[in-house]
């Protein structure tokens, strides 16, 4: 199927691109934290906002782990719908996080990006896991 032969590498590349941007944001998160705070802030406020962003990034990495494990183990590698959904979600996330990083958006927007572009593919991945290992369906 020619679709899968282009969809699998596309999905892999978009996941890796999303992962790279998440790691970049992890190392340069200072500006995003400052954008979420008022002009005058205390060190405690900074630390709490920083903590929130670190938690969000850690959750993203966890969801990546779920999805990559499903992808590399073959559970969802040849599933067309999951491939399309994952490619679309991670591509949108890459563009959104690019803006998040360069335009120094606030923290609240990150939660929205997380919900739409990281949670959705991971949830479908978990459903597929349950389908393959629990209900013994063929992984296609």
């Amino acid at each position: 199927m020619s679709a899968i032969s282009s969809l699998v590498p596309a999905r892999f590349l978009t996941i890796i691109a999303h992962l790279v941007i998440v790691i970049t944001i992890f190392w340069s998160r200072e500006n995003n934290v400052k954008a979420s705070l008022p002009l005058e802030f205390t060190q405690e406020q900074y630390d709490s906002e920083d903590q929130k962003l670190v938690v969000a990034l850690a959750v993203t990495l966890g969801l990546f782990a779920i999805e990559l494990s499903g992808f590399f183990s073959g559970v969802s590698m040849f599933n067309c719908s999951q491939g399309l959904l994952s490619t679309g979600a991670h591509a949108s996330a890459s563009v959104a996080l690019l803006f998040f990083l360069f335009e120094q958006w606030e923290l609240d927007i990150y939660w929205a990006i997380l919900a739409i572009c990281s949670v959705l593919p991971a949830v479908v991945e978990i459903i597929l896991f349950v389908g393959v290992f629990g209900l013994k369906k063929k992984p296609l």
Binding site: M1, S2, A3, S6, L7, C80, S81, G83, L84, G88, S92
Partner: protein
Amino acid sequence: MAFYEVYSHPALIRYKTSVCTKATLFLVAILCLTYISPLLVAYRSQGFWTKRSTYEEQPVVRYRYEALLVAATSPLGDHVTWSTFPYLNNMLGPNFRIPAVSVREEDQNQDGKLDLLIFKLQLPLRADEQVYSVQLLLTFSYQLHRMSTVVMQTLAYVQHSSSVPGAKLFIGGDLRLQQRAPLAHRGLNNIYNVSVIDGSSPFVSSYDLENIMRSYQSRNLTTVLSCPSPVWTLGRAEGSPFELSAEIRYPLEVISYRPGFWETIKLAWIQYVSVLLIFLWVSERVQRFVFQNQVLTTVPVAVEKLHLS
């Protein structure tokens, strides 16, 4: 013989599916991404809705032949006054002095709108008087016609003082429009079509320069004489009058206005469609890949009949 393409035409394939399928979901998602993203791109890069634009116009300015002159004739503050308002002149008493005035307006480029006011005034003085400061107020009627019609009465106020008595004052400048807010793009604006100085008032307070300037400056649309360098000539001969000469030009104005609904929509539409073209192309490629390669199952229906039946 060489083999070449003589003719080609596209063959249409329709992909059909029922409403509650993954294909429909995909279609909805891709349509949202295609039609909403250009709006976001165009809006976030600033300037989507034009709030202010400019246009050029030569205003129709006429001098109204009203003037008010106050000249200080001693360092202690004695002054002489002259005006074109009979009520004020009657109240001045011994401070009233009549100068010789000559006024001319010229249309230099023959476009039917006046361009220059030449105002010459000669103030006779007594032997013991010298002029130390001059305050002159001239009124104009000002009209704009190109976008909204603006009809108003404005003034030019000149003030110059020196610790050294002078013989001549020359003022050369432009009558510039000052706006606090952009003008409308159509309609009539004549709220300022009232005399700057109320010539029919018998009260001295209506001819007080401070009151006049205070109520004038509270307007949103005024004119100001921009004269960066008045020339105060010294050395008045005995017995000769004080000369005041002013050349006021009416220049081409760059006026800022709020664009109307259709102009704003036209400019926003241009911005939206030019970004939409890119997203449409990308979406077309993605949809062709998805439906041609059956990534989501649909029923392809070829429209061209393959055989005669």
